[in-house]
């Protein structure tokens, strides 16, 4: 009760400060957006996997964002995206900033988790697709894996308290803590149901009245005028089913070295996922009581460097590793992995417009219906920011 009271007082204080603060100066609204069209070619994939295990052909990601500064301490952001599953509200929130170290964010937003999500917009990352831990349907054999560890972006309704502080010019510390509706899934579900979690037809409301929560802390060190090193850690916990019986816990660690315009990024995510044990026939293996969970790891290491005035070269190794029981019909085993090797180039066609070439080699530890463990694919994308 005391904590709730303090929380309420803090929010009232922030709103009061916002109402007292001077109005925004000058022009106070901005519009920005991006569009990416991506042709995904997987020449060795059987044709019956198109649209089920792999989205071939053109896909378009489009976003438009309006930001309005209502005062020196209050701003609002609305971002609408269009992608493989239609329109989605990626952002619709208000920031009530008391000081740099204390900001209240309320509305719909992707909570602070990991390093990649800040760059999830196609205009802000130079490969055509996302790292596997954050994959949202562009990977091969996507139904086998139910996508990555934490498909990005992951907008949700809730409240976040965040802030940052610089210690001189040498170190920046960022933190965030949040309560959100959380992911959803049916009582009998064997994994999170990402469709249900974002589908407006099933209502954008919580399915179990219990918020999920989490937080992030990150430190950025300035090693030299042009060299930054960031370390971060994130966590999220919640229940997904209407009866609050099954939980998910996600942890992440990330590091980012930026030297000049060269970036080396590494990130690891792991999700411990409980699932229903009510019907053992829907599972492939038997397990001891209390072992009704699986663990899904995802990681990537990525290097990016300019090789000519308008050309960046990229190399990435990423993968997923899943340990635990699977659905009876799944081709996965109870200890299975996929590794992907990516070379990429990002070429400036005009100011704000890039061509992205992203060939990928896939190594699965299980064969598909045609007996293949090795796959190849290529993304050819054009992305524009405006």
């Amino acid at each position: 009760m005391t904590r709730a009271l303090w929380g309420l007082l803090a929010i009232v204080a922030a709103i009061t400060l916002a109402l007292w603060s001077p109005p925004a100066l000058a022009l106070d609204r901005t519009f920005a957006g991006s569009v990416q069209v991506d042709e995904h070619i997987a020449p060795f994939q059987p044709s019956d996997t198109y649209g089920t295990q792999f989205f071939g052909g053109f896909t378009t990601e489009l976003s438009g964002k309006i930001a309005a500064d209502l005062s020196e301490h209050v701003s609002a952001n609305v971002k609408i995206c269009y992608g493989c599953h239609g329109f989605e509200t990626d952002m619709a929130y208000v920031d009530l900033r008391v000081v740099d170290e204390l900001n209240f964010r309320v509305g719909r937003f992707s909570p602070s988790f990991g390093a990649f999500n800040l760059r999830h917009d196609p205009a802000n990352h130079k490969l055509a697709d996302k790292p596997l831990p954050y994959d949202m349907g562009r990977m091969l054999r996507l139904r086998d894996w139910n996508m990555g560890v934490l498909p990005s972006p992951f907008p949700d309704n809730g409240v976040e308290i965040d802030g940052s502080h610089w210690f001189g010019d040498m170190m920046e510390l960022d933190w965030a803590a949040y309560a959100i509706s959380g992911f959803k899934g049916a009582e009998s579900s064997l994994d999170l149901d990402f469709v249900q979690s974002r589908d407006g037809n099933l209502y954008y409301v919580d399915d179990n009245k219990t918020p999920a929560g989490g937080g992030r802390i990150a430190a950025t060190f300035r090693l030299s005028p042009n060299t930054d090193l960031t370390f971060g850690g994130s966590g999220m916990y919640g229940t997904f089913d209407p009866e609050n019986r099954f939980s998910y816990a996600i942890f992440g660690a990330d590091a980012w070295l930026r030297a000049g315009r060269t970036n080396v990024r590494a990130e690891w995510l792991v999700r411990r996922q409980e699932f229903s044990d009510a019907d053992p026939t829907q599972l492939k293996y038997t397990f001891a009581p209390g072992q009704n969970f699986f663990v899904k790891h995802g990681a990537y290491v990525e290097a990016e460097t300019p090789i000519a005035p308008g050309v960046d070269a990229l190399a990435r190794v990423d993968g997923l590793w899943r340990i635990g029981d699977v659905a009876a019909a799944s081709p996965l085993t109870n200890d299975t992995f996929v590794l992907r090797y990516t070379l990429g180039a990002s070429i400036v066609l005009a100011q704000g417009v890039r061509l992205k070439l992203t060939p990928e080699l896939w190594q699965f530890d299980y064969a598909d219906a045609s007996g293949r463990k090795l796959e190849a694919s290529m993304h050819i994308a054009v992305a524009a920011a405006f």
Partner: protein, 127 residues
């Protein structure tokens, strides 16, 4: 997929990227050698800090030309988690944005007027 397929694909990819690198004259941002000497160091800070999370085209092509707005916008960017933009960095960044969005267009307009005047004079004396 065979190993030969992989090798061919890799060679083709390297050739495409190599050609692109060789012929590309476009760049994300500005050619620093074309900037006035007193602007170059400010641009360097802007280019380093502001390209961490997004392309430089975003600010450069935004059409914004008000110092007050830039001040507010750069503050907002500085507060982004992991931005790496310190308060001290905002000084050269804002100085560059002022030059880029206010001084540079003014100088370009003055140069255009002067050129037009010269052309008019030449036309008049030539008639």
């Amino acid at each position: 997929m065979t190993r030969a397929h992989g090798v061919v694909a890799l060679v083709a990819f390297a050739a495409i990227v190599g050609c692109a690198g060789a012929v590309s004259e476009r760049r994300d941002g500005l050619d620093v050698s074309t900037l006035p000497a007193d602007v170059q160091s400010d641009y360097a800070v802007f280019a380093q800090r502001c390209s961490k999370c997004h392309s430089l085209a975003r600010p450069l092509e935004s059409g914004i030309n008000g110092d007050a707005f830039w001040r507010m916008y750069v503050e907002k960017m500085r507060r982004q988690p992991g931005s790496g933009i310190s308060e001290a960095d905002t000084v050269p960044i804002l100085r560059f944005l002022h030059w880029y969005s206010v001084e540079r267009p003014k100088a370009a307009a003055a140069a255009e007027s002067a050129a037009a005047a010269v052309a008019a004079d030449a036309g008049g004396s030539g008639g």
